[in-house]
Each structure stands twice: as C-alpha cells, then as structure tokens.
C-alpha cells in the first residue's frame, strides 16, 4: 500500500519529466523558410537573419566549389543574397525557399561565368587539413588524405556533374528541383548525379599509396 502510494506520488513528476523529454523536440519552434521570408517581406529583419544563418554556409560551400575561387565565390554569394533581399516584395511561396535560393545563386554563377570568360582553370581553394585534437596521428593523416582526394575529385568533375552533385549534397534538393534549377530534364540530372557519385566513390576507394 505504501509502495503504491509512493509510486502514485511520484507518477505525476515522472510523467511530466518523460512528457517534457518526449515532446521537447516536437515543440521546438522552427518556422518554415517561406514563412520567414514572408515575415521579412513584412519588415521583420530577425526572420531574415534566421533564414540567412540557416542557409549561408551551405550556399557558400556550393558557390565555393562551383566557382573554385574564393573571391569569386564571395562575390557571387553576396550578389545572390542581394537579389534575394531585393526580390522580397515579389516573393511568393509557390516553391521551396531552398529551390528559390539556389536557383538565384545558380543564375548569379552563370552571369559570373559569362562576365569572366577565363574562369575555370585557376583554383585557390585549399581544403582544411587542420587536424582535430581528438584523433591519433595516423587517423588524422588518413582523413586528411581522404579529404584531399575527395576535394580533388570534386574539382575534377565536369561543371554540370559538379553542379548537380553540389545541389544534391549542399542544398538537399530532389532530382526534380535540381532539374528545375539547372534547366534540364529530371533524367538528365539523375544521370549527371550518378556519374558524379561514381567518380567520387572511385576516388574514395583509391588506396592512399596509389599515385
């Protein structure tokens, strides 16, 4: 009887704790990108800051590997966000904001390529090979070599395949959305992605001793 009453007394607290743990992730407020953009259209700068911090790094990496020059990537990055800011009054949430954002960035990159015909052969991106303090030296060297190989493989991809692969990995877009952005058919996008992944897998499978 005493045990039962003790359990009953503890029950509400345990229930509330478990409930809070169970519902905490679900109650986390994470507004949609489109809603944030609409709020920014109405003058809410904080909404834009949230939106920007959510997408800035992925977009920067996409442009960095697409342009293969840091300065060019920064220029295109700034231009793309500037267009997003300017187009806030005309923004309509007819598609995912990510599609809209990467479409704008892709068009800015195309404009950049047209403006600078000499783009493509010079690459000044150096992969971050700084070791983590937690790993042992052998693991660090292995990781560093693997990263270097993958980076080289990504840079050596054809422009269309690299574009599709980066949109797939960085933006998390579907094949339909990638096809929309790159102005090609879905099957074409799928084929490009398949070729890109195959080459990168081959680069990863290469033994470190191989030249």
């Amino acid at each position: 009887m005493a045990v039962t009453s003790r359990l009953l007394r503890r029950a509400p607290r345990a229930l509330s704790q478990s409930a809070s743990l169970a519902y905490a992730p679900a109650m986390e407020h994470r507004p949609e990108d489109s809603a944030l953009m609409l709020r920014y259209r109405d003058g809410d700068v904080a909404a834009f800051e949230t939106l920007y911090r959510r997408h800035k790094d992925a977009l920067f990496r996409y442009l960095l590997r697409l342009c293969r020059q840091r300065a060019a990537a920064e220029d295109v990055f700034q231009e793309a966000w500037g267009k997003i800011i300017k187009s806030r009054d005309n923004y309509r949430p007819t598609a995912k904001f990510t599609t809209f954002l990467y479409h704008v960035a892709h068009n800015c990159f195309i404009d950049y390529v047209r403006r600078n015909k000499r783009h493509g052969n010079t690459a000044d991106i150096e992969p971050d090979t700084q070791p983590d303090g937690a790993d042992c030296p052998e693991t660090l060297v292995e990781k560093s070599l693997a990263r270097r190989r993958l980076d080289t493989a990504v840079r050596s991809l054809p422009d269309e395949q690299r574009d599709v692969f980066l949109l797939y990995e960085e933006a998390g877009l579907s094949l339909e959305e990638i096809a929309t952005i790159t102005a090609c058919k879905r099957e074409t996008a799928k084929s490009r992605l398949r070729y890109a992944v195959r080459k990168l897998r081959a680069a990863l499978d290469e033994s470190p001793e191989a030249p």
């Binding site: 920014y40 003058g43 920007y52 800035k56 800011i85 993958l150 990995e169 992944v197």
Partner: protein, 232 residues
C-alpha cells in the same frame, strides 16, 4: 547537410555523402555576414519610415514658411495701422482742433493778462498816449475770444454731425473748410499787426507759449504783409 531521405531511384551514395560532409566544413566569412545583414536591415525599413524620411524636410520647410509668414505679417502690421489712422483725417482733425482750442483759450487769456500786466511797464514811456488802443485791444481780445468760441462750437457741431452721419466721413470738403477757417484765425491783435515790430513781439510771445502753429501762421501773415526788401 540534407535532411531529404534517400529515394529508391536516387543515385546518391551514403558513403560519398558522409565523406563530402566531413570534408566540406567551410564557413561564410564574417565580413560577408555583416555586409548582407546590414543590406537586409537597410532594405527592411517599413515604407512609412521612408515616407517619414521624405516628410521630415517637408515639415521643416512648412514650419519655416509659416514662421516667415508670421514675421512678415507682424512687420507689416504697424504700417497697416498707420494707413488706417491716416485714412481717417476727418475724424481726427476736429478732435485735435478742439483740444488745441481748449488748450489755447486759457493760455490766450493768461497771455493777455500777462501782456496787460507787462504792457504798462514796457509801454509806460512810449505808449501812454495810446490808451484808446488798449481799449481797442481789449475789445479785439473779446472779439477774438468770441470768435474762438464760435469756431469751437462749429467744430463740435461738425464733429457731432460727422459721428451721426457716417456718410459725411467720405467727403473731405467740410473738414478742409473748417480747418482752413480755424487756421485763418488770428492770434495777434490788429493793433500789433499794424506795426511789424509789435507783430513780431506777438509772434515771439506765441512761440514762448508753445503755440508754434499760431506763431508760424502769424509769421507767414507777417511775411505777406511786410515782405522783406529785395536785395539789389
């Protein structure tokens, strides 16, 4: 990086994706963050804020304009009052004339008394035989006083009639006649006007009493009656 679940026909490779995500850890430079966020803040100002930015100088201009208008109005106000004051000579002239006449009457009586008191002393030697002149002078003084009273009565009557009939304010002729009539009143006795020196004495006496208008009038009459000799 992507939260999209792999589809069946997705050609993606989880191992390649994991390796890529491990490799791709570049971050946006901070200066780009500042530039873009500042641009976003600048562009996100509400429209009414921009309207206020335009309204503010307009409000300043309007305020300055109103202030200038008030200053100009105030600076012009005395002139308008003066113009209104000048446009009413018919009303002002009789009142001033009445006051002048009232001021002049006791003074003239006093001056006559003073003259009477002075004349025996000043004229003891030379003018004793002219006693009849003194009598004439007394009579002329009475006559002068009575003429003054008549003029005053006429002025009062005209003032009352002017007040009663505003239409008379429009005409200048009665007031001008009255002013001329009052202005042609004589302040020196006939016996004094016969002699230029006595007349001049009378004029000086008027000036000493402060009756400059009368003195000026008498001086003009003296100049007409005894014009100065032409120089060769």
């Amino acid at each position: 990086m992507t939260d999209t679940p792999m589809k069946k026909d997705d050609p993606g490779d989880p191992r390649v994706s994991a390796a890529y995500r491990e490799m791709a850890d570049e971050r946006t430079p901070e200066h780009l963050d500042h530039v873009i966020l500042n641009a976003a803040r600048g562009a996100a100002r509400p429209r009414w804020n921009r309207a206020i930015a335009w309204l503010r100088p307009a409000a300043w201009v309007a305020t300055i304009g109103v202030c200038l208008a008030i200053v100009i109005e105030i600076s012009l106000l005395p002139d308008q009052e003066q113009a209104e004051f000048d446009s009413l000579p018919q009303e002002a002239a009789p009142a001033t004339e009445i006051k002048r006449l009232e001021d002049m009457r006791p003074q003239s009586a006093e001056s006559q008394k003073a003259q009477r008191m002075q004349k025996p002393e000043s004229l003891q030697a030379s003018d004793l035989p002219r006693r009849s002149d003194d009598a004439d002078a007394g009579a002329s003084a009475d006559k002068h006083e009575s003429s003054l009273e008549e003029a005053e009565t006429r002025v009062r009557q005209r003032t009352v009639s002017d007040v009663q009939s505003p239409a008379s304010l429009l005409g200048n002729a009665p007031a001008a006649d009255m002013a001329q009539e009052v202005a042609t009143e004589r302040y020196c006795r006939e016996s004094e006007t016969a002699d230029p020196n006595a007349w001049l004495e009378c004029i000086l006496e008027l000036e000493r009493q402060g009756l400059y208008d009368a003195a000026r009038l008498e001086r003009e009459l003296l100049a007409k009656a005894f014009p100065p000799p032409e120089l060769p």
